[in-house]
Symmetry: C2
Subunit: 326 residues, 2 copies
């Protein structure tokens, strides 16, 4: 196949949040030489819980790319046991954030390494290596950035909003505590400058709480814009609904139309001249011209990823689109 | 039985380390109205590991008194699973200190409560209540006291010496970091002053690393000495060996004779006028006169506690001895 040959020497930089991004990254990983796939992951959702440093999006990537994620549940590991949580419940402890036994081992590994002075980025490397992952996964920054959700119930730490309150409060905005003083992982900037990935793909993740924390890091989106690699975003909104998570609910509460056009407009307004292309689902074909009028190429395909084949197919499609961009 | 009637209104204060102390406390708990048994427990072994606050001696008491301790293993819970440790091993994490899944829940409960501002003493209360324990268990202090073992390999944190290095280094002494600034739990001092327990029992725990950290707390042994309750110690050395743990090895390395007389001498030298009575095993009857010459009454019985009945019998014997003291 043309794609297979084409992708042998292709490096891709993917920008990803949790589940949706991880799905596409698994597809990309199947289509690329493993070490040529570089994934920058949101750590704005990171938090300390039960004394542990938890990186939900990083772990979703690690578990998905090591093919151990719990697909039905949508988070955590498959073949998981819950002995710690179950006993903690008996003791009246905090169990609102469910942590499986094997999942806990990841958090222990991370927390211990951090306590010994390792940086977040090297910890991700270590965990990825131990899990047999060939792709290069980057924590977006070594520094702490905390996504804070402004709601009708006041400001909420992201996991309070997302897990404890199950996204019920009405969103009025977001801020990323610590972001002004944070730096993108220098390895990412170096990659963009020196190794020039073939393309950057903004995964179909939540624009507000997964992609923005990454792009808002000082110098980050400008580095992407100024790199020779075209930036292609994949819409997380398909036919007016979010494939997963609260993106659609957030858009509605922020008085945005809930469709892929609004996502494209949001990215183009916030990050001028960043996007070269935008991938939308077949069901959104009617919006293609409006998106094109924003000055970006539009690629239309089936973007829903139910199974491994769907992921590979979407990855192939995007890689082909990148070839057209060249 | 005379003892049963006698013990209805008896309050006992037990001073305890881990396994040996917990055995006797379980026996005492069976012989007393639960809430009349007050147990002050060593927290010099406490340490942070994997981000968690671990209180090994407190937990041994909690697990023993809730009848869930692993008797064969000598530590931890019975019917335990090891899913977290097993996965942490796969990840190359720290697994030298083995923590079972249910055991981990205890440490999470404690660590979370401490992080929310609770004190060590109230955390013990909370855990004891959740585990259905009627006895009153006290952390010896709200303050951090860290037992440091001086050895031929330098100074070692207690768990490094005890678990990681399996007590192999040669001991030259001990110190308790933070003890000068620490205070005994005020509830213990209040108990001694106002409620006057019928007697204080120093359990057959390690004198150097279990009992000393408690008695060396500022004002602690003097409060015991000045209370109207007689203080009876039970020898942890029987027939020249420690029933469990490194007490005998330590005595040898400190150039002490390894026998119950040396333990009695140690207590009498270090804590003048504290001991009223000393309980030794039948096998040490030959040492009785020498111990008496230290000015303490000697009680001789079978002090080995293999089963529940042994524990109850030793507890009964000591409670009878206390009656004789009056």
């Amino acid at each position: 196949m043309a794609t297979e040959k084409m992708t042998e020497n292709v490096s891709i930089l993917a920008i990803s949040g949790g589940v949706g991004g991880a799905k596409l990254c698994l597809g990309l990983s199947d289509e690329l030489v493993g070490s040529n796939l570089h994934i920058v992951v949101n750590t704005g959702d990171d938090f300390r819980h039960l004394g542990l440093h938890i990186s939900p999006d990083i772990d979703t990537l690690l578990y998905t790319l090591s093919e151990r994620n719990n697909v039905e549940q949508g988070w955590g590991l498959r073949d998981e046991s819950w002995n710690v949580m179950s006993e903690l419940e008996n003791l009246g402890g905090d169990t609102w954030f469910r942590l499986g036994d094997k999942d806990l081992a990841t958090h222990f590994g991370r927390t211990t390494a951090l306590a010994k002075g390792a940086g977040l980025c090297s910890v991700v490397d270590l965990l990825a290596t131990r899990m047999g992952i060939a792709n290069k996964i980057y924590s977006m920054s070594e520094n702490s950035v905390q996504t804070i959700v402004s709601t009708d119930e006041g400001e909420l730490a992201f996991q309070d909003y997302f897990v404890r309150l199950q996204c019920q409060p009405v969103v009025t905005g977001f801020r990323f505590e610590g972001i002004d003083a944070a730096q993108p992982d220098p390895a990412i900037l170096q990659l963009l400058k020196q190794q020039s990935p073939f393309a950057t793909i903004i995964c179909p993740s939540n624009p507000f709480v997964s992609i923005d924390p990454i792009l808002q890091l000082p110098g980050m989106w400008q580095a992407l814009r100024d790199s020779s690699a075209p930036v292609i975003a994949v819409s997380p909104i398909v036919d007016g609904v979010a494939v997963k998570g609260p993106a659609a609910k957030m858009m509605k509460e922020l008085d945005m139309p809930v469709n892929s056009l609004a996502v494209a407009e949001y990215y183009c307004d916030r990050y001028p001249d960043l996007l070269s292309g935008f991938v939308i689902d077949n069901s959104d074909v009617a919006l293609a011209d409006a998106i094109r009028s924003l000055g970006v190429d539009v690629y239309i395909t089936n973007t829903i990823m139910h199974n491994r084949q769907d992921k590979q197919r979407l990855a192939q499609f995007i890689l082909q689109a990148v070839v057209c961009q060249e």
